[in-house]
Each structure stands twice: as C-alpha cells, then as structure tokens.
C-alpha cells in the first residue's frame, strides 16, 4: 500500500513537472496536483511550486506521510502538450486508473510531438514575416524578416541546447540576427533593416514569461511572479544589447 502511494506521488509530480515545462502557470500546476491527490484519497496536502521546483507532502488515511520534490531546469512553450496533459489529469481524476496506466499515458503525452520541424520552421518564418510587415515594413522587408526567422529557427534548435547560459545565447542570437539584417540592408534592394529586426525581436521577446508573471502575482504567487518578471526584464535587456552591437558597428 505504501509503495503504491509512493508510485502515485511520483507520477503526479512528474505530470506537474511536465505541465510547468510546457508553460503552465503556477496556480494551474498546484491545482492539478492537488486534484489528483484528492481523487486518490489523500486529502492532507501541502503543495508548493515555483518555476524551478515542485514540493509535495501528502498524508493518507492511515497516517503515512509522503514527501517528494522535482527540480525543473528549463521552461519551454508547448501549448499542445499542455492541453494533452490537462486532459490526462481530468481523465485520471474521473477514472482513477492504476499507476501503470497513468505512467503509460503520461509518457505518451510527453513523447508526442504535435508539430513537425518543418511546421515549426514555417511558424518562425511566418511570424517574422508578418511582424516585419506589421511594424511598417513592405513585403520585401517581410521576406527579409522571414529569412532572419529561418536563421533564428536553426539557432534555437542547434545552438541553444549547447549554450547553458540562456541570456548569453540571446545576446549572441540577437547579434547574429542584427548583423544579417544590416548586411541585407547593404544590398541594393532597399531593405529596411529596422523592420526586419523588429520582426525577429517579436520572436525573441519572452511574452509568455511576462504574461504568466502577471497571472502568477495575482493568484498569490508573488515569488514566482517576481522571478518571471525579472526574467522578462533581463531577456529584454539581452535582446537590446545584442542588437545594439551591429548597429554600433554599422553606424546606424
């Protein structure tokens, strides 16, 4: 019995961790974990989550207590997976399946890749294209922006995993993108480097961290709200520094 409860504890925490890593807000993670435990008859609960850690301590009817923690290293954005995990947790609460079944479905959720690389690449290019045009560029600036979006896509995939300091990566990526924009601007095609750069800046700006930080602060998670807010400010600074370098060299 005790072993079984431990298994559930571990699985529910893994589910919470997977949700956080896909970009869920703190209150959703805490809420989901507590619903899961309650569905399995553990009502005496203490749950604490921040962006980098989840701690749960639960007590069952017999007075056994269980504690476990999960450390989260990187938060990404994967809305499709978040939705799947959310549905899985609803299903678990309603059906109360055994640990093996939960584990099987959880692994399937985490492994499933809802979009192919080609589709993601298309998304990057389309985003850079439309925001280059949106901020006053012409179609050709949009095309230039799409090219920078393509560059950013490959840097995000190949380079970012190798760079342990995220902020350093962002400064570097911004420098590369800014330089290419300036180079394109030198071509006799009348590109506007600023419009192309803004298009890609939209891809780099941590909009999610900012919005989640607002939502976290309001649901009594000021600690996490502050973390995310600071993260947003630092990232915005890193982007500005990165793009400033080619501008200084190019003499804008």
């Amino acid at each position: 019995m005790v072993e079984e409860q431990r298994e559930y504890l571990d699985l529910f925490l893994s589910l919470g961790k997977a949700m956080l890593e896909s970009g869920a807000e703190i209150f959703r993670v805490e809420d989901t974990i507590s619903r899961l435990f309650q569905a399995y008859g553990m009502n005496d609960l203490e749950i604490f989550a921040i962006r980098s850690l989840i701690v749960v301590s639960a007590r069952d009817g017999q007075g056994h207590s269980y504690t476990s923690t999960k450390r989260i290293y990187e938060v990404g954005i994967h809305m499709g997976r978040l939705e799947e995990l959310n549905q899985l947790s609803r299903w678990i609460c309603a059906q109360r399946p055994d640990a093996q079944e939960i584990n099987r479905r959880l692994q399937a959720c985490i492994r499933a890749e809802s979009l192919s690389a080609r589709e993601s690449l298309f998304g990057y290019m389309l985003a850079a294209f439309s925001f280059s045009c949106f901020f006053g560029g012409r179609l050709r600036d949009g095309a230039g922006g799409a090219f920078l979006g393509l560059l950013l896509f490959f840097m995000d995939r190949r380079l970012a995993p190798k760079c342990p300091q995220r902020l350093v990566y962002i400064v570097f990526a911004s420098m590369v993108l800014g330089s290419f924009a300036m180079l394109l601007g030198c071509l006799p095609l009348e590109f506007q480097p600023d419009k192309m750069m803004i298009g890609t800046i939209m891809l780099l700006i941590p909009g999610m961290a900012f919005m989640n930080s607002m939502r976290d602060m309001l649901s009594n998670n000021e600690i996490n709200g502050l973390f995310s807010c600071l993260d947003t400010l630092l990232t915005a600074g890193a982007i500005a520094i990165g793009f400033a370098v080619p501008l200084l060299i190019g003499g804008a």
Binding site: I77, M79, L82
Partner: protein
C-alpha cells in the same frame, strides 16, 4: 485612417497570431480561433487608440477582450486559458518600442530613447492591467 488600412493591419496581425500559435505549438484545430482573437484584439486596440490616443487604455481594452475571449474559449473547449491567451496577446507586445528605444540609445539620443521606452512600458502596463482586471472579476465569481 482608411478602412482598407485597418483591414490590412487586422489581416496581418491575424496572420502573426496564427504564426505564433504555430511557434508555441498550439494544436492545429485551435489555430483559427487564435488567429481570429489576435486580429479582433488588434482592431479593438486600433479603434480605441483612434478614439482616445491613449496607449495604456487602448492596450488595456484590447487585453480585456483577448482575456475574456480566451477564458470563454477555454471553458467551452475544456483547455487551459494560456493556450489561447498567449498568441492572441502577441500583437500587443511592444517589440517596436523596445527596438527603437535601443536604436536611439545607440545614437546617444537619450530623450528619444526614453520616449520610446516609456511608450513600451505604458503598453506593457496596459496589458498587465487588462489581465489583472479580468482575473479579479473571474476570481470573484469563482469564490462567490
């Protein structure tokens, strides 16, 4: 401002929201809703800005719409709110302001830089205020 200008802008923002939906790996069948939300949100921002010339209030108004829209969709489709909210709000993010603040700073024109930075902050605060306002109302409903 011409009606056709507004229409083009709305279409471009809808496209941008759709693209961000893909980048954020939103499920395919949610993408049309996301694109529509982004486009309508921007239209509201634009009309409010024409009427009031106030960055803070226009952003807040557009965010109010995006948040209510996402909350409603989320309830209907039984999906987390962020799935819809993030891509819908993307067009409001002041990327241009941040860029021009930086570029004036590089040119040592602190006054221009501060003006752009101020506008960017005003927009960000407006978005935050919109999100806060809606969640206060919704939270009250939940506890009552």
């Amino acid at each position: 401002m011409q009606f056709t200008d507004l229409l083009t802008e709305v279409l471009v923002t809808a496209l941008g929201s759709l693209a961000f939906g893909i980048v954020y790996k939103v499920k395919r069948n949610r993408l049309p809703a996301v694109a529509a939300g982004g486009g309508i949100g921007w239209m509201i921002y634009r009309l409010l800005f024409l009427a009031m010339e106030n960055i803070f209030l226009s952003n807040m108004g557009a965010t109010l719409f995006a948040t209510v829209y996402s909350e409603m969709l989320a309830r209907k489709k039984k999906a987390p709110v962020v799935v819809f909210l993030l891509p819908c709000l993307i067009p409001l993010v002041p990327g241009g302001g941040l860029y021009y603040a930086m570029s004036w700073m590089v040119r040592r024109d602190v006054q221009q830089a501060m003006s752009y930075l101020g506008k960017a902050c005003e927009a960000a605060l407006g978005i935050a205020a919109g999100i806060l306002l809606v969640s206060v109302i919704i939270h009250r409903n939940r506890t009552a």
